[in-house]
């Protein structure tokens, strides 16, 4: 078993379609105060929080150096602060490095995104593509996900009916999660009749625009019990990036996720995820990604996603009991949401959706179109 860091406390606000009545600074403050209260952590320069990791994005905030707007509400005044400018899950991987390096004992990790604020999430992510070849084609993270869906469904026997089943289940699960975005419960027929969004993805196949913020207290192993009776451990982290041009990639494959998962499992000493892990939280930006990422993290057989759903794989492996990304988290913060659900499960705070005796959990998240960059986190009770 390798070295580990502790999650000592978590606070979040509810995922909402739009926090019209709050600026993002206010959203963060609503998280900071409860997490301080929970852990009794201070901003003392010797014993308390001396470094902060934030997660936000310049384009989604329409502000250069988006962390500049949150230095005060994250307590970063005359303290260290570094911004994770990728999917938030990588902030936990980086926090692990900061603590294991000996540089920090206690880290406050906060993230925010008001996805509702922008004109369009597709306009924002279109900017991720190079201005010469891909951007003029109108590529963005969602229509690239649609191209991936076509390729993956073809390969894995995943049909529209499977996707409808995933959406229905996601919304049902989310009803048990008090922080989940409140979406209407739907049946499979409604999902299949929802308007075509980006062929083959229908409107309800895709996560809805969401605003959210969170705060977490992370700590070295030696001091974890100063802040909580029940720490949850991060024991493994790995990431991997795939090629940029879609034509250079196997769009139906899981090259980067398999590598990321293998790296995280190796660090955490996981030999067989099917046996060793009781809870999986996967960032399904669109419904087809649930079985696809399940293949990637090693709980579904390669190219057999459809069969895996038919055989009840989603419930057997406790996948996305929170409702998943599909129910609604901001694009950038799905990974933190996944990790927070794992934290609740492993610390026995998951309420109605609690998996009894959950000892180990996996959180996964992707950055970029069709999961170009993947990261996996292994957490333990």
């Amino acid at each position: 078993m390798g070295k580990r860091i502790a999650i000592c406390g978590v606070a979040q606000i509810k995922n909402e379609p739009a926090y019209d009545h709050m600026r993002f600074q206010n959203m963060l403050l609503e998280c900071l105060e409860p997490v301080m209260e929970q852990t009794k952590v201070t901003f003392d320069l010797d014993k308390g929080i001396r470094n902060i990791i934030t997660c936000s994005d310049d384009v989604f905030d329409a502000r250069t150096i988006s962390d500049n707007g949150v230095t005060d509400v994250t307590g970063a005044h005359f303290r260290g602060e570094e911004k994770m400018a990728q999917e938030s899950i990588n902030g936990l991987g980086y926090a692990m490095a900061s603590i294991l390096s000996g540089h920090d004992d206690v880290i406050l990790f906060m993230g925010h995104c008001k996805e509702s604020q922008g004109e369009s999430r597709r306009m924002a992510t279109n900017l991720a593509y190079d201005p010469f070849y891909c951007r003029p084609l109108g590529m963005d993270f969602q229509n690239v996900d649609a191209l991936q869906a076509r390729a993956y469904m073809e390969k894995s026997g995943v049909t529209d009916n499977h996707l409808a089943k995933i959406v229905v289940r996601s919304r049902k699960n989310a009803k048990m999660n008090p922080y989940a975005r409140e979406n209407k419960l739907v049946d499979e027929k409604e999902v299949l009749n929802s308007p075509m969004y980006l062929d083959p993805l229908r409107e309800l196949y895709v996560y809805p625009v969401t605003d959210w913020a969170y705060a977490m207290i992370l700590c070295c192993e030696e001091r974890a019990r100063e802040f909580t009776k029940k720490p949850v451990w991060i024991t493994g982290y790995g990431s991997c990036i795939d090629r940029y041009f879609l034509g250079d990639r196997d769009l139906s494959g899981n090259f980067s996720l398999k590598n990321a998962a293998q790296r995280a499992y190796e660090k955490a000493g996981i030999k067989d995820p099917k046996k060793d892990i009781q809870v999986f939280e996967l960032s399904d930006h669109a419904a087809h990604q649930l079985p696809m990422w399940a293949e990637g993290v090693g709980i579904a057989e390669e190219g057999k996603g459809g069969k895996w759903i038919d055989e009840g794989g989603m419930d057997k492996y406790n996948v996305n009991l929170s409702g998943g990304q599909l129910n609604g988290n901001p694009l950038l913060l799905g990974g933190a949401a996944r990790a927070i659900e794992c934290y609740y499960q492993l610390s026995g705070q998951a309420g109605e959706r609690q998996v009894k005796g959950a000892k180990k959990a996996v959180a996964q998240a992707a950055t970029g179109g069709a999961g170009q960059h993947q990261a996996v986190l292994v957490m333990e009770a």
Binding site: T64, G80, D104, D130, D242, K267, G368
Partner: protein
């Protein structure tokens, strides 16, 4: 150091940077980055196979590329590797050096490559910086990075005439250093005989901040390779050790006008330096360090900050400039590279400070190598609303 003892030592084993210039129209962003990456790999005598993790950073709105590490995979060589993108402000280059130090020291990765870049020509730099300010409260009064308050402060402190001359002396020293550095963007061949002329002729931007005293906007990239002690010793004849680093940010309001001198609004440099030196038991930083690579966005800030970094008294910092003690071969050579006033591809700028300080410690910086031995070097980053990152580099593992 820091909170606890460093888990393991980290050395810099490869350094690469492009020629910095106002227009790199011959390359796109990944191609420009590729130049720096190739040079760093060559410098370290490694290939991409040896790299475990790639760390990337810049500011998205300068070029309007969202999560540019995705596209830049073409030039960074990160395909198939762990990658992390961490950003701050102008400090970002220094931040990703700190991040790389943490990633290697943690034991999670043995060799990490950090890449900072900016292609300012492809965007609007002052627009990008102004967009940093709060849209409700401050955006209308922000003029990018152009801040005249430091000129006012220094003039009030030592008198207008002396301040103007010291500022221009600092500028000319930087120009002379830039002339020795083939990668520097701007070197005009200025001479000390031009001081009075430049004070009169250089157009004023804001208050007494003159055009010639302000940094440029540049295109360029920098790449630094970090390795754990074991690998660094195996792979490199002259690794440069990262002793410690510190970051101090400040809340977003600038509160320049009417601030209380007793409360250190704009003194993150001083606070960071004092804390860093205290925890590393360095009592006399001015004598301890052999060179200093300072993030100097403009002469006025640079003059004022020298005092903060080294805890100098009275007008000691001004005398250092007037007596050319900050010049190559002086008692405290500052910015032998020509500094930020010489080259400023913002996402790379703070990393170039670390890279250039490391080159000085290694002793093979070329024409701008300090003539006396360099064992201890300090590099600073500046960004956001007065943020500081400091990195300490050492030749020997003996602290």
């Amino acid at each position: 150091m820091a909170h606890r003892k460093k888990n393991r030592n980290v050395g810099i084993i490869g350094i690469g940077q492009t020629k910095h210039s106002s227009h790199r129209e011959d390359v796109n962003q990944p191609e420009m980055i590729h130049e720096a990456v190739s040079l760093a790999l060559k410098d370290a005598n490694l290939t991409m196979k040896d790299i475990d993790c790639v760390v990337h950073g810049n500011m998205e709105l300068f070029e309007m590329i969202h999560q540019p590490d995705m596209w830049h995979t073409l030039g960074t060589g990160a395909f198939g590797k762990d990658t992390i993108r961490i950003t701050t402000g102008g400090t970002v280059g220094a931040t990703i050096c700190c991040a790389s130090d943490n990633l290697v020291a943690s034991g999670m990765y043995d060799i990490v490559m950090a890449i900072g870049f900016e292609k300012q020509q492809e965007g609007h730099t002052t627009g990008g910086i102004t967009n940093m300010a709060d849209p409700l409260w401050f955006r209308k009064i922000q003029a990018g990075a152009l801040t005249g308050s430091a000129a006012y402060d220094v003039q009030r402190e030592i008198g207008v005439e002396r301040a103007n001359r010291a500022s221009m002396t600092y500028r000319i020293i930087m120009d002379k250093h830039a002339g020795l550095n083939p990668n520097a963007h701007r070197s005009f061949g200025l001479d000390f005989s031009q001081i009075d002329d430049l004070i009169k002729s250089s157009p004023k931007l804001v208050g007494d901040l003159k055009l010639i005293e302000m940094c440029s906007q540049s295109d360029g990239a920098c790449c630094v390779i970090f390795a754990c002690e074991k690998k660094a010793k195996e792979l490199s004849k002259n690794p440069v050790w990262v002793r410690d680093h510190i970051t101090k940010h400040k809340e977003e309001t600038f509160t320049i006008f009417g601030y209380d001198k007793k409360y250190p609004w704009l003194r993150t440099h001083k606070v960071a330096a004092e804390e860093l030196f205290k925890r590393n038991d360095i009592k006399d930083p001015f004598n301890y360090f052999d060179v200093f690579e300072m993030y100097d966005p403009a002469t006025w800030w640079a003059m004022d900050w020298i005092k903060d970094f080294f805890g100098l008294q009275g007008d000691e910092h001004i005398k250092l400039i007037e007596n050319h003690e900050i010049m190559i071969g002086g008692t405290m050579p500052i910015n032998l590279s020509g500094g930020v006033i010489g080259s400023n591809p913002i996402g790379a700028t703070a990393m170039i400070r670390v890279a250039e300080a490391a080159l000085q410690v290694r002793g093979n910086a070329g024409a701008h190598q300090n003539p006396t031995p360099v064992k201890h070097a300090l590099a600073s980053g500046f960004g956001g609303t007065m943020w500081t990152v400091l990195t300490m580099l050492e030749k020997e593992l003996n602290w």
